[in-house]
Amino acid sequence: MTKIRYNIIQLEVTQAGQVVEIRHRLPSNYGRCIGFVARHVKGVYSEVDIPEIGLLAIEFNSRKQLFVNDLIGYETEVEQLPEYKELNIPLESGQLITGYYLDTQKGPDKWPYLNKEWFRPYKVAIYLKCEIQNSNQNVRSSAIHTTATQTAKC
């Protein structure tokens, strides 16, 4: 039976213009990545929506597939349900998800002399929607382990 799991990669941005490196290992039983959403979690405050606070690039399977390039924005109010963008990437077991997040926020023009003091640290989350394949096999392998343990005791 195919099951779906949502894996979350959280990034902390602490400086204006910072490049945050992504190195994340998905659980080995994930078979395919079928969607993603990346969004600001908390930290940025504004009275109006900001279409871009950063840029995101993600590679799958230890840099073998560059698949995601996205803009991250900020929304003042909760409106629509976040929509997962479709992916269809078979995942190789044990491989890394890598990439970069670049902060591109611009400070207020009237205070250029404040030298980035307007900046506040914030968090970004990347939600990966993945299919788990062969969950029955995993159950079976743990059952074999139990049996072997019991045999050893006898």
């Binding site: 099951k3 894996n7 908390k42 909760v78 409106e79 349900l81 976040p82």
Partner: protein, 139 residues
């Protein structure tokens, strides 16, 4: 026999930063959980709030899953408010377990407040009659 039910789970949050475990059981008369929707009294408590959810022993959301991912504003039509599950999640008296974590540093005057978690329960036969917008997998 009814084909839909919106089952409500109410979670009381007393103070900023509270992390509250909740448990319930799905209605036995319905076969499947089609979707979920979280309702909070203010957008302010939504920023950074997280919810973990397990139904019938199946991990649906990790504890770090933001509540924002399963809610939307008042302007969204009732039929489109719910986050829909693509996989089959068994209802029929399944155990529901979860944890709601309130973000720290929010306005203290907002407390206490209730989070309402709505589960959309259905019986399988009804989905075919109404031509659902989202494809569902039954494996």
């Amino acid at each position: 026999m009814k084909n839909h039910k919106f089952q409500q789970i109410r979670i009381r949050i007393n103070a900023p930063g509270d992390s509250v475990r909740f448990a319930a059981e799905t209605d036995k008369l319905f076969a499947k959980v089609r979707g979920v929707f979280a309702s909070v009294p203010s957008d302010q408590v939504l920023v950074g709030a997280t919810i973990g959810l397990k139904i019938n022993g199946q991990d649906v959301f990790d504890d770090a899953h933001e509540v924002r991912m399963i809610t939307c504003g008042n302007q969204v039509a009732p039929n489109n408010k719910f986050f829909r599950f693509e996989e089959h999640i068994e209802a029929g008296g399944s155990a529901i377990e979860g944890r709601y974590t309130d973000p720290q540093g929010t306005n203290p005057t907002l407390y206490p407040y209730d989070v309402k978690l709505y589960l959309w329960l259905v019986n399988e036969s009804h989905s075919d009659k109404h031509g659902e917008k989202h494809p569902e997998k039954h494996s």
